[in-house]
């Protein structure tokens, strides 16, 4: 198997792809956002329940490739229990990883580090970003008082 592929489809990614976390729909979500990538047809539905300003429950239903599904699944693990500010920091760190930029020290990435291999596949970066963009847009809409939203990324 060619080497960059091994880097892209690391075991952690494949595991999240095969067994995505947090697929259960949330009733009465505090935030719900749909994302789609019009270029490739990937679609995602993402909801959050908040508790005292922190992420209590997360649901991600993603119809897409291994990268977008795995990224969405890792998102579920990564943001649970975090404040919205921490969530934004993690999202920024994910972007940094995907662009191959240095990580801000304080953020602890866990499985998300596995996304590093994507940076060698520029056209796949949007796959990895879809869930995160959908998340951040949803949070921003929430802060403006909107609960359900639609995000499109190019």
């Amino acid at each position: 198997m060619p080497e960059p592929l091994d880097e892209l489809y690391r075991d952690i990614i494949m595991d999240h792809y095969r067994y995505p976390r947090g697929r259960k729909k949330l009733e009465n979500a505090d935030m719900r956002n749909e994302g789609q990538n019009p270029v490739c047809g990937d679609e995602i539905e993402l909801s959050l329940k908040l508790d005292d300003g922190r992420v209590d429950e997360v649901s991600v239903e993603c119809m897409g490739c291994a990268i977008s599904v795995a990224s969405g699944s890792m998102l579920v693990d990564a943001i649970k229990g975090k404040s919205l500010q921490e969530v934004r920091r993690i999202a920024a760190a994910v972007k940094a990883i995907l662009k191959g930029e240095p990580l801000p020290e304080e953020v602890e990435m866990g499985d998300l580090e596995a996304l590093a291999g994507v940076k060698n596949f520029p056209v796949r970066i949007k796959c990895a970003l879809l869930s995160w963009t959908t998340l951040i847009d949803g949070i921003e809409a929430l802060e403006e008082g909107v609960v359900a939203n639609v995000t499109s990324t190019e």
Binding site: C40, G41, C65, V123
Partner: protein
């Protein structure tokens, strides 16, 4: 302008004489000797755009190096040469599609713009509530979205000829769908997803009997098989140069002279006018009435040797070659056992474009993996989202062939698909 007809063609012509030999043709396409990820490029994304032979690349070079000027309005030598290059290309197009008049050949940016031209110039002035536009379920967005927008604008109604589960048009209710209220029928000659070749002549005939105009999206047919626009009897035919060895940025709208004459212009500006006053304007003659502004002169000049190249091979031979490739590809892909293949299983009914999905690997992942093996295919909705919904998928993988593809290329595709399976199975 002396277009170097001979230079790039000689090899292929020799090949054609000795029978159609894609290996010899390949040598005329510089990019095909390129490597991708350390492997010889296997280019199977021809439905998106084709590669260009040496003669086309050289014609572009020659145009800008020796003849470049603005057309029509110029008296100096360069302007004369540039005009000759452009009008010479128009004549070649007219000949290539069956010997139509040059007035009937309009240069646009691409197939998409050609269809928009009709939707705007004819559609917005002739459609209203109660009128019907008929399309099919297998249209490319280029032959879908302009009509959706037009229907919204004018209040006209959209109706679709459905497809059956084998990827053919279902013509059983054609009489009901192409009702007397139908003002235009617009359909693809060959599906860019399913590969299906539609029986357009027969459908056009019915539409004409109902008094409707007809437009054929020939983006996938004219590059791949003999098409005589007069035999089709379509009122409009649209296609793109870049899908038939020509450069990007140039497309063609063929339209019947009397209908084009009745239509409003589309793009207003220089070259398309007869006389302009401060408060009114009158239009130039066909085809220039529809070609406002400086055209893609270099693009037209370089489209001419592309047409020469295809004519040199013979479109019958091109079609035969593609049937051979599809037959082989259908066989080999079916044998993999892991794919769902869309479209007709009879090679005679389809072009050299095959869409499929792997039951376990998403099309994008397949595309990435194949790319690392040097195999370029396309994954996605192929600008046919409604068709994707109809097929119950969000995306497919599409391999599409052209004159320079070989059975060996298909073997490389199959090997890469197998490797992907191994990889996704064990990773």
């Amino acid at each position: 302008m002396k277009v170097k007809e001979e230079s790039g063609l000689s090899i292929a012509r020799a090949g054609a004489a000795a029978g159609f030999d894609p290996e010899i043709i390949k040598a005329d396409f510089p990019i095909l000797s390129r490597e991708v990820h350390g492997k010889r490029l296997v280019y199977l994304d021809n439905a998106a755009t084709t590669q260009k032979p040496e003669s086309v690349i050289q014609a572009l070079d020659d145009y800008y190096r020796n003849h470049n000027a603005n057309v029509h309005r110029g008296i100096h030598t360069l302007a004369e040469e540039a005009t000759a290059a452009m009008e010479g290309a128009r004549q070649k197009v007219a000949d290539f599609i069956g010997g139509v008049k040059t007035q009937e050949v309009i240069f646009t940016r691409n197939c998409t713009e050609a269809i928009n031209l009709v939707a705007y110039s004819w559609g917005r002035n002739n459609l209203g509530r109660g009128d019907r536009i008929v399309l099919t379920e297998m249209e490319h967005h280029a032959n879908l979205v302009p009509w959706i927008a037009l229907a919204k604008r004018t209040g006209a109604e959209l109706r679709y000829i459905p497809i059956d589960n084998d990827g053919y048009l279902n013509l059983s209710d054609l009489n009901g769908i192409i009702s007397p209220a139908t003002r235009i029928l617009a359909l693809t000659h060959m599906s860019n997803v399913l590969g299906t070749i539609n029986p357009v002549e027969e459908i056009i005939e019915l539409a004409h009997r109902r008094g409707a105009l007809t437009l054929v999206d020939a983006a996938q047919s004219i590059p791949h098989m003999p098409v005589n626009v007069k035999d089709l009897d379509a009122d409009f035919v649209a296609f793109s140069a870049h899908k038939m060895l020509g450069p990007t940025g140039i497309g063609i709208l063929y339209g019947k002279e009397n209908i084009l004459n009745e239509m409003e212009p589309f793009i207003y500006g220089g070259d398309m006018i007869r006389e302009v006053r401060f408060d009114s304007a009158t239009w130039n003659e066909l085809p220039w009435k529809f070609e406002g502004g400086t055209p893609n002169i270099g693009g037209a000049a370089a489209f001419a040797p592309a047409l020469d190249y295809l004519a040199g091979l013979g479109m019958d031979a091109v079609r035969r070659h593609e049937i051979e490739l599809i037959s082989y590809a259908l066989d080999r892909l079916q044998n993999l056992g892991s794919l769902r293949i869309f479209g007709p299983s009879n090679p005679d009914d389809r072009g050299g474009t095959i869409s499929f999905i792997d039951n376990e690997i998403h099309p994008h992942d397949l595309a990435t993996i194949l790319d690392t093996y040097g195999v370029a295919i396309r994954a996605g909705h192929h600008c046919a989202q409604p068709l994707m919904k109809r097929l119950g998928v969000s995306a497919t993988v599409r391999a599409s062939f052209y004159i320079y593809n070989t059975k060996d290329d298909i073997d490389r595709l199959v090997e890469a698909l197998k490797a992907a399976r191994r990889f996704f199975g064990n990773a």
